[in-house]
Amino acid sequence: MPITALPPTTVRAIGSTSVIADPCSVVKELLDNALDASATSIGIEISSNAVDVIQVKDNGHGISSDDHALVCKRTFTSKIQTVEDLRTLGGKSLGFRGEALASAAEVSGGVTITTRVEAEMVGTSIKYGRNGELISYRWQTHIQLSRHRARHFQVI
């Protein structure tokens, strides 16, 4: 059998399932994100079978509108720029690989993020598709907390 490149979808699927192996890792990654966003209040809601809906709300700094398109892209992160940063990272942020949200989107088929930064008057609710692309975008009023909402369907 010749050695050939795996199609990108396969690469994504294989990579994602090892980052997000179970509902527990979804919660962990979202929690890490919330803590990295210096939240002081975090709420977690999980549907009773632990896979339908996993929702984490925090009151951290939110995601600025410039970044909205990049949130769920693989290896896109605000936490490091090069591998050398890892050495200086110390304990400053929990995440650094830029894989969690992308993987969560891949294994669940879509992620919804509702967020507002302090400077904005209204929040936005953004839907991301399986491959991490922004699908839809709408204004959302009356939110205090930035909210990550993963609809998580076990693919295996």
């Binding site: 010749p2 490149a5 795996l6 605000s78």
Partner: protein, 866 residues
């Protein structure tokens, strides 16, 4: 707040590589897996300086074809998978296409490879850190691939320093991992070498490309390890859960059957290991860590052998749909879709396995010292032989083979007939004594055991008959020569004919041997003539020589015919047959037994006649038995030598034991009568005498009864105690209220919803015992025990976990209420104690771990020593 940006590609590569190759283990693992995936039959792993300087893996696999050179080390390029869906049908170890590219990023990496048509020309490929091919170069090399990893982690200074610091430990881990691969890979020769200083090159371990995992284990861990192992061969069946069903929706229903193959320590005190360090688990031959399953193994094993951990080698064969390997980067974590059901069913089958193979009590051998004065006693022979055969080892007789054969030949060359006989017998008597003998029940289901016994016993008797026959011969040799000869020949014929229906290879070997033996036996005088050198030793009566001359001719013709007959049968094309014959011959080559003893043997015609009758009777029995035991033969031959020499005790035996009396006011002596097929043998000769600790066995009985039945008394608290539990603990409490109540904890749950989760439970009463004080801590312990207990078994049998304090209390109570040492027991009381042992779960050890029972001796030996 930083903005979200892409990490630069080079950094991504390095970060991800660091995830794939975490330590020395991952390097060795990836490379060895590649070799195995390439169909290699010989793999050599070379370390330099424990792997710090160089790790090199050489195989004789398929090699890499030239058009793939460019792609070998590129990320996500692989030959093992083409789409995500293939994952569920994955047959190879690797699949992500990440290992080699990661190694490029983290070390100096090069490959030398040649396909079959290229050898002896090979190509050396060097790569850039990105995984791009830098250059190719033609070098000399054999078919296969050699991958070298030099200076691992040179580009990640922190990890490199960490590795250098812990290299000894890392190296140990790598070896353990390689052990696992070496053990599970059938037909692959592993060779692991380490060069520490410049010149010293040490072979760490190697296997020989064996066809069985058993031999692999012997190669890796030493043959001694095998002695303590029993084969593990379980079939687990269970209803697949929803997830499993969905995964297997288009497959046939086979997917919920799981086969477990491997080896595990005997569940007997002293046969396990002190630490759980040698436990290997595989899923379809992929080494992996299965913590829950490992726990199940240890738990079940501990319930049979309290103080030790087992050696486990377990390979789970299951449908590729039934699990997911793509969980962690190192692929050692495997998600089993039906883990819960699997573990339950595994525990049940393991318990069954252990129960049936339980009880290997060291068998005592009392008569070693008295051997030299042993009287000729056929009972003894019989005893030894049947003892072995009753253990279920079909090849018991074969084991005796070399000795019998050899000593007889020896004897007849050097000594006069009596001496011969004597040395033969003492040899028979002494050699088993030198071995470790044990008592244990057949590791197969009991029906099979019976079959085997049916098969084995006659085999043993054939041997026996051979010897008694020889005995007859001796007797007559001095008196009625003519008659001896006729009888002998007739005898042989009888035997061979009777064995024919058996058709088994083993009996053929035996009969062959027997006739050879008798050939030798029948020609004593002939040989005196042929070998004058022997004649000064041989004191055979000279006056018979003349008639012997005539006799010889006749005899030889007859014997030749018999041998031919036997050989024809033995020459059936059965490999095992030949192997065994070889083994026998080898065994005979190097053992010498020339015991220079003189004694007389009393024998009369009537006695001989009697024995003849018995023999024929038994042979007839053999004939009929052999027919239906034929099928089992293949499996029989798998029995280990150790099992052949073992004695079995099952729980049913307690019901049949005959109480002999009390000893020293502390022990019950009981005999178990033989259950062998040969009812014609004197019944007492095969009885086994056991000594049973009256206190320990009664204590165990009481203890198990208390464990299962007792509802611990409780006392209500004046004021209910508010419990602060986590949400999970609370769930457990609510689900297991009955189990808690059995232990004396009564908990009231507030369902009104007024209290927040975690504060809904109130402890209403605590267990009560005379002097033991219970508290919330004991409840916490019990909750942990309950949480470890898998959910499905709560509905099952009445097993209730007990906190350690309650257990201790029970042990104490059982101890106090049991029969004490020093108490006179009536026959009735003793019978009750022994019968009770048959009814309890694990009668072999008392709650503190002391054995309840020991084997004293076989009564056959007793007769002999009087």
């Amino acid at each position: 707040m930083a903005t979200i940006k892409a990490i630069e590609a080079r950094s991504v590569h390095q970060i991800q590589s660091g995830q794939v190759i975490v330590d020395l283990c991952s390097v060795a693992k990836e490379l060895v897996e590649n070799s195995l995936d390439a169909g290699a039959t010989s793999i050599e792993v070379r370390f330099k300086n424990n792997g710090l300087d160089l790790i090199e893996v050489q195989d004789n696999g398929s090699g890499i074809s030239p058009e793939n050179y460019e792609n070998v080390a590129l990320k996500h390029y692989t030959s093992k998978l083409s789409s995500y869906e293939d994952l569920s049908r994955l047959q190879t170890f690797g699949f992500r296409g990440e290992a080699l590219s990661s190694l490029c990023a983290l070390s100096e990496f090069h490959v030398v490879t040649a396909q079959a048509n290229q050898a002896p020309k090979a190509n050396r490929l060097d790569f850039e850190h990105s995984g791009k091919l830098k250059k190719t170069q033609i070098v000399a090399g054999q078919k296969g691939t050699t991958v070298s990893v030099e200076g691992l982690f040179k580009r990640l200074p922190v990890r490199r320093r960490e590795l250098e610091k812990n290299i000894k430990r890392e190296y140990g881990k790598v070896l353990n991992l390689l052990h696992a691969y070496a053990c599970v890979s059938k037909g692959v020769r592993f060779n692991v070498k380490n060069t520490v200083a410049k010149t010293r090159n040490v072979v760490v371990f190697s296997t020989n490309g064996n066809q069985t995992t058993k031999e692999n284990i012997a190669n890796v861990y030493g043959a001694k390890t095998l002695l303590a192992l029993i084969p593990l061969d379980l079939t687990l069946e269970f209803e697949p859960s929803a997830a499993g069903k969905r995964a297997a929706v288009d497959e046939e229903r086979e997917s919920n059957k799981i086969f477990v193959r491997g080896h595990i320590s005997r569940p007997v005190s002293g046969e396990g290991r002190q630490t759980p360090d040698r436990q290997m688990f595989f899923v379809n031959s992929r080494p992996c860590g299965l913590p829950q399953i490992a726990k199940a193994f240890n738990e079940v094993y501990k319930s049979f052998n309290v103080s030790q951990s087992p050696f486990v080698f377990a390979d789970f064969h299951m449908d590729t749909n039934a699990y997911d390997v793509n969980v962690s980067p190192d692929k050692r974590t495997i998600l089993l879709h039906d883990a819960g059901a699997l573990i339950e069913s595994l525990k049940t089958s393991l318990t069954q396995l252990f129960e049936s193979s339980d009880q290997t009590v060291p068998q005592s051998q009392v008569n070693n010292a008295r051997q030299s004065t042993t009287k000729l006693q056929s009972g003894k022979l019989q005893d030894i032989l049947t003892l072995k055969s009753s253990s279920g080892g079909a090849e018991a007789a074969e084991d005796e083979g070399p000795e019998v054969d050899e000593s007889q030949v020896n004897g007849r060359n050097r000594l006069n007939p009596q001496h011969r006989m004597r040395s033969f017998l003492s040899d028979l008597g002494s050699s088993p004594g030198a071995r470790k003998r044990r008592i244990h029940t057949p590791s197969r289901p009991s029906i099979f055991g019976k079959h085997m016994r049916g098969f084995a016993a006659p085999g043993a008797q054939v041997e026996h008959s051979a010897s008694s026959e020889a005995e007859e011969e001796e007797d007559e040799c001095e008196e009625e020569v003519e008659e001896e000869e006729a009888e002998d020949v007739e005898d042989e014929e009888e035997e061979i004919e009777d064995e024919e229906p058996g058709g088994g290879s083993r009996s053929h070997v035996l009969s062959d041997q027997d006739s050879v033996q008798s050939h030798d036996e029948a020609l004593p005088e002939a040989e005196v003539k042929d070998e004058p050198a022997m004649s000064q030793q041989d004191t055979a009566p000279v006056e018979k020589t003349l008639s012997d001359e005539e006799k010889k001719k006749h005899e030889e013709a007859e014997v030749q015919r018999l041998i031919r007959q036997a050989e024809e049968k033995a020459a059936l094309p059965q490999e095992s047959n030949i192997n065994r014959a070889n083994k026998l011959n080898k065994g005979a080559a190097h053992r010498d037994s020339t015991v220079n003893l003189v004694s007389t043997i009393d024998g009369s015609l009537s006695r001989i006649q009697l024995q003849m009758d018995k023999l024929q009777e038994r042979l007839r029995l053999h004939g009929s038995n052999a027919v239906h035991s034929q099928d089992n033969e293949a499996e029989n031959s798998l029995e280990t030598a150790e099992e052949r020499l073992s004695l079995t005790v099952s729980k049913d035996d307690f019901g049949k034991m005959r109480i002999a009396g009390q000893f020293n006011l502390g022990f019950i002596l009981a005999t178990r009568s033989s259950t062998g097929v040969s009812d014609s043998a004197p019944p007492s000769s095969k009885d086994e005498l056991f000594i049973i600790d009256q206190h320990a066995s009664d204590e165990k009985f009481n203890f198990e009864r208390l464990q299962a039945e007792t509802v611990v008394q409780n006392q209500r608290l004046v004021q209910p105690k508010q419990l602060d539990l986590t949400a999970v603990e609370e769930e457990i409490v609510i689900e297991n209220q009955s189990a808690l109540e059995k232990n004396g904890f009564v908990v009231e749950v507030d369902d009104s919803g007024n209290e927040p989760i975690g504060r809904r439970c109130k402890l209403v009463s605590l267990p009560l015992s005379k002097e033991v004080v219970f508290g919330v801590r004991d409840l916490e312990e019990l909750i942990v025990l309950l949480s470890e207990m898998p959910a499905s078994s709560t509905a099952g049998p009445m097993y209730v976990p007990r906190p350690s304090k309650v257990r201790k209390m029970f042990a104490m109570r059982a101890c106090r209420s049991s029969i004490m040492i020093g108490k006179n027991l009536s026959q009735k009381q003793m019978t009750r104690v022994v019968r009770n042992m048959g009814t309890i779960d694990k009668p072999w050890n008392c709650p503190h771990g002391r054995p309840t029972m020991r084997h004293l001796m076989s009564l056959g030996q007793w007769n002999e020593n009087v």
